[in-house]
Symmetry: C2
Subunit: 339 residues, 2 copies
């Protein structure tokens, strides 16, 4: 116990534990009291060097969330779920964006080796495939939980959704709605979730007696102009109505963009289902049918597992693999009655 903390407590007529908690920014202490304590501590030139004191305690009070982007509503919602848990634990959530760039991802993960955060929640970026940069993480011993986009080569708890089943359901609905062909618009087959959704698509095609045509499986990458070009080529050549599964929010909205450009009508010429958590899916023209992931719940679940690990309470002996189901919201973009 430092002499300064005792002095602050005495001079402000507060309990030592209150001062100590106020200096640690505990949620148990009111903003007003925190301010009083901190201001007085400043007067006394008491430097609360969290940095230095954390080096001693080996606790930073931060958890990191590493995501490919925040412009996608899945990630922004999942982050909200993570923050709901972190706030209760009095932790700050700091967010790093990789922009689907594995070398940025590597640089961020490398930083964790030097102990900037207590734990990491991660949804991996797409990109070539090498996972060496993530394996470095294991050497750092910082608890890690993957959510949504997992890395199979690394042993860590995962929180995912039923991507295979969702891909299956989406494909089946488009077949039922009389699409002459069904296309799958992926981003990269290197990504666990895209692979699973694609496998669901393939299974539904086979189960419904349809051939799998590789020309209808488009891995567009992340370059928007390339995706638009591939989509335009597909939509001008395919027999219509064609069904399209956009395996990400961005890809689904690009189908709308290209249809508009080519004057194709949704759902008459093209029927679309997108994996998306967009609040305004129902305001699009026509409203977009979505597979909606339980983003908030997934964020919460992943954070809960992470904090269990941080607190040394392993949920169970093995590695946790939580799977939470997605929901299919049917809207105008798939057309009317089954055929």
């Amino acid at each position: 116990m430092s002499i300064t903390i005792k002095k602050i407590a005495r001079d402000l007529n507060l309990a030592v534990s209150t001062v100590s908690k106020a200096l640690a920014d505990s949620h148990e202490i009111s903003e007003q009291t925190k301010k009083r304590v901190l201001d007085y501590a400043d007067q006394l030139n008491y430097v609360r060097n969290t940095y230095a004191s954390n080096l001693k305690k080996k606790r930073t009070g931060n958890i990191a969330v590493v995501v490919p982007e925040v412009a996608d509503s899945y990630f922004s919602t999942a982050i909200n779920g993570i923050e709901a848990v972190a706030q209760q634990k009095n932790y700050h959530v700091i967010i790093y964006i990789t922009h689907e760039d594995q070398s940025r991802e590597a640089s961020i993960v490398r930083e964790f080796r030097s102990g900037r955060v207590d734990g990491v929640l991660m949804s991996v970026s797409s990109g070539k495939n090498t996972t060496t940069h993530l394996q470095e993480r294991s050497q750092s011993n910082i608890p890690l939980v993957f959510f949504d986009r997992v890395c199979d080569d690394i042993e860590a708890p995962t929180v995912t959704t039923d991507d295979l089943e969702s891909g299956y359901k989406a494909t089946e609905l488009l077949i039922k709605r009389g699409c002459k062909s069904v296309a799958f618009l992926g981003m990269t087959e290197n990504l666990s979730i895209i692979r699973d959704r694609l496998n669901g698509y393939k299974k539904a095609m086979v189960d419904n007696g349809l051939d799998i045509n590789e020309d209808l499986i488009i891995s567009g990458g992340i370059d928007e102009s390339v995706i638009i070009e591939s989509l335009s080529a597909l939509l001008t050549s395919a027999s219509r109505p064609i069904g399209i599964i956009g395996s990400t929010e961005k890809l689904a909205t690009l189908v709308y963009v290209v249809c508009k450009k080519l004057s194709l009508q949704i759902p008459d010429d093209v029927r679309v289902i997108g994996f998306s958590n967009m609040g305004i899916a129902s305001l699009l023209s026509p409203p977009l049918t979505t597979i909606t992931q339980p983003a908030f719940e997934m964020g919460k679940a992943a954070a809960t597992i992470l904090f269990k690990n941080l607190e040394g309470k392993k949920a169970d002996a093995g590695i946790v693999k939580a799977v939470i189901g997605s929901l299919l919201h049917e809207r105008g973009s798939v057309g009317g009655e089954n055929v």
Copy 2:
């Protein structure tokens, strides 16, 4: 120069400067070389404790971005602009979300006092009005730049857009399109940008010989159900067609939601303009007319000013106040020809 760095350089047949840069995660060094150096350093039990070494150097290699949310396309785009600059400077960007909660904001800002980041870019949260929690920051001497939502009470560089002119232009367009009344949907008048947009609205009303009716100025806060209720009341009572300015993206889309619920047609019954950077504004039914802020450029400008301050190169003697113009994108939601 540590003995270990020399040993690593000798054993791996690299220049000492290369090893040093690789250990500092410089962008000048290839991923491959970095990995080689780091792996070998690990073998030698060389602990690159950035944490400890940064305490000495007083440099963390991080800048913080503090924003109310990331689900709004303005903020996600501005962050991309910030990251474009930070990456060149070999800095990590770490993002903190306040969720429009001033006590979270206070807690985040308080953390900066203890030297976790080298500089801060901030868009303040809405909320009551007290800025004491931000004033604490001044005591920390960490360079700070405000973007978009500024705090007038604190002397710091700002990057904003022409909110007053934009509010004026939006209002004038709705008047020209024959709206019998024009409503302004704000969030809180405590926020600089909302206040400026509202002032633009008021000025346009007066300049066009229209009365300012306080019933048409709605400060909805951030509770969605409250906003929906106020909007429903407004839309059932107002003389139509009514023009509505949604001063945030969320508010503009809520106008669509409420119109749908009340079976009101946009643009026949209700004409809407929203402040929004949504890529899919043109895909809504009908396409949303937007005031689009130069979000990416604003992020870039703010980060550039921050790095100038970090590098000790003040752009000029006074405090920089950069203003970048927004664009009005006219789409179906305001109806056809002028009346």
